[in-house]
Amino acid sequence: MTKQLRLQALGVVGACLATIGINAANAQERFITVASTTSTEQSGLFGHLLPIFKKDTGIDVRVVALGTGQALDTGRRGDADVVFVHDKVAEEKFIAEGFGVERIEVMYNDFVLVGPKVDPAKANGRDISVGLKRVADSKAAFVSRGDKSGTHAAELRYWKAAGVDLDATKGAWYRETGSGMGPALNTASAMNAYILTDRGTWLSFKNRGELAIQVEGDAKLFNQYGVMLVNPAKHAHVKKDLGQRFIDWVVSPAGQKAIADYKIGGEQLFFPNAKPPMKKAA
C-alpha cells in the first residue's frame, strides 16, 4: 500500500514541478498578452508578424483570439496587456470608460458578401446596400455571426444602411449562429447561404463548398483595425513598457511594411494606414 501511494505521490510531485517549471520558464521570458480577433489570428497575419516583431525586439506575444466584444472584455478584466480589434464604436467606448489608454489606427481590411455561386438573390455587384436588400427581399438563406463581434456589429450597420429592418423582416431565412467567423462560414457553406465575412478569413478558409464572393469593393466595406494599451491606471500589472513597444512597432515603418507584405495566394489581406506618430516614442 505505502509503495503504491509513494509512487503515486512521486508522480504527482514530478508532474506538478514540470508544470510549474513551464510557467517559471515563461515568466523569465519577456512576453505580453494580446487580446485580438479571430480574423487577425486565423488569417495567419499574426503568424507572419510576430516572428518579425520577436526578431526586432526579443518580445514574445501571446495572442488570445476572440470576437471583438469578448477581446475588449478581456482587456476590461485586465487579462490582456494590449487589445487589437476592429469595431471603432466599441473601441471608443472602451477608451471613454478609461480601460484603454489611447486608440491608434493600424490598418484596414475589407468585408465581402459571400453567397452561393448561382446567386439566387441576384446580390452580385459592388454595392453592399443593394446586395443585402436583394437578399432580404428574396428571403435567401443568410447566416449571421450573432456573437457581438466586430463583424457582427458591421453586419448590423450594413442592414440598417440598406434600409432593412431586421427585427421586422427576419424569419427562418436569417440564421444567427452565435459563433466565430470560421464556424459561421462552415455553417454557411453547409447551408449554401449568404454571409458577411472579412476577406482575410475568407481567403484562408478551405471548406468553401459552393460559395463565392458576390459583393466586394464598396468603400463602405472597409474595416478599420485599432490597437490600444490596457490602462495601467486600472490594472497595475499591465506590462506597460512591453505593450507600448508592440504598439509602437506595428505603427512604425517596419511594422507597417510587414503588414503590407502578408499575402495569401498573391493577394494582400491587410492595408496599413497608421498615421505618422504625433509624439516620438522613446
Binding site: M1, Q4, Q8, A9, G11, V12, A15, C16, A18, T19, I20, I22, N23, N26, T33, T38, Q42, G47, R62, V63, V64, A65, R76, R77, G78, D79, G180, M181, G182, P183, L185, N186, S189, S204, F205, K206, N207, R208, H235, H237
Partner: protein
Amino acid sequence: MNSLTDAFFGAFQLILRADPTLLSIIGLSLQVSVTAVAIASILGLALGSLVAVSRFPGRGLVIAVLNATMGLPPVVIGLLVYLLLSRAGPLGAYGLLFTPTAMVIAQVILITPIIAALSRQTIEDAWREYREQLASLGVRGASAARTLLWDSRFSLVTITLAGLGRACAEVGAVMIVGGNIDGVTRVMTTAIALETTKGDLPLALSLGIVLVLIVLAINILAQSLKSFAERRYG
C-alpha cells in the same frame, strides 16, 4: 467520402513526419491531462473511499451530489475557473489565466468528481464484503479506507483511465482558461477546434485520429501493466 480518406491518410502522414509543432502540442496535452489526473486521483480516491466507509447524516445527499457533478459541463467549469483566475477575480493576483496551470486546475475540478463517485461505489461494494472481517481486526475509518483502496487497486486503474480519457478529450474548459495560445496553451483538442474553424476539416480530423491513437496507446499500456501486475502479485 474523399475528405474522410484524406483525413486518415493525413493522420498517418502527421505521425510519420513527427512535426515538432505537433509533438509539442501532444506533449502539452499529455502533461496537462496526466498532471490533472494524478492530482484528481489523490483527491478523488481519498474522498470516494472515505464516503464509502463512513456513515453520517446527509450521506445520501453527498453521494447524489458526487454523482451529479460527474455531469458538470466543461464550459461551465471553464467559466468558473476563468472568473476565479481573471485579474478582476479573487485569485487574479497570481496571473494564472491563460497558462497550463489554469488548464490543470480546470481539469482537476472536472475529473475529481468522476474518480470520487466511481471509486465510492467500488470501495463500498468491497466494504460490504469485508466489513465484518475488518471490524473484527479493529480496522475502521481511514485505515479501513486505505485497506480497501489497496484491495480494489485493479478496478481503480480503470476508473483513473476513465478520468484520463475525459481529460484528454475535453475542449470547452481548456479553451476558455487556456486561450488556445500558439506554443503556450494550445493542446490537441483546441488545435482540432481551431482547424475546424479554419475550415480545414481533413486536418482537424487527422489531428483527431492522432489523439485517439495516443489515448488508445495509453490504455493498452495501462491494461498490460495491470494484467502483468495481476498475474505477478494478484
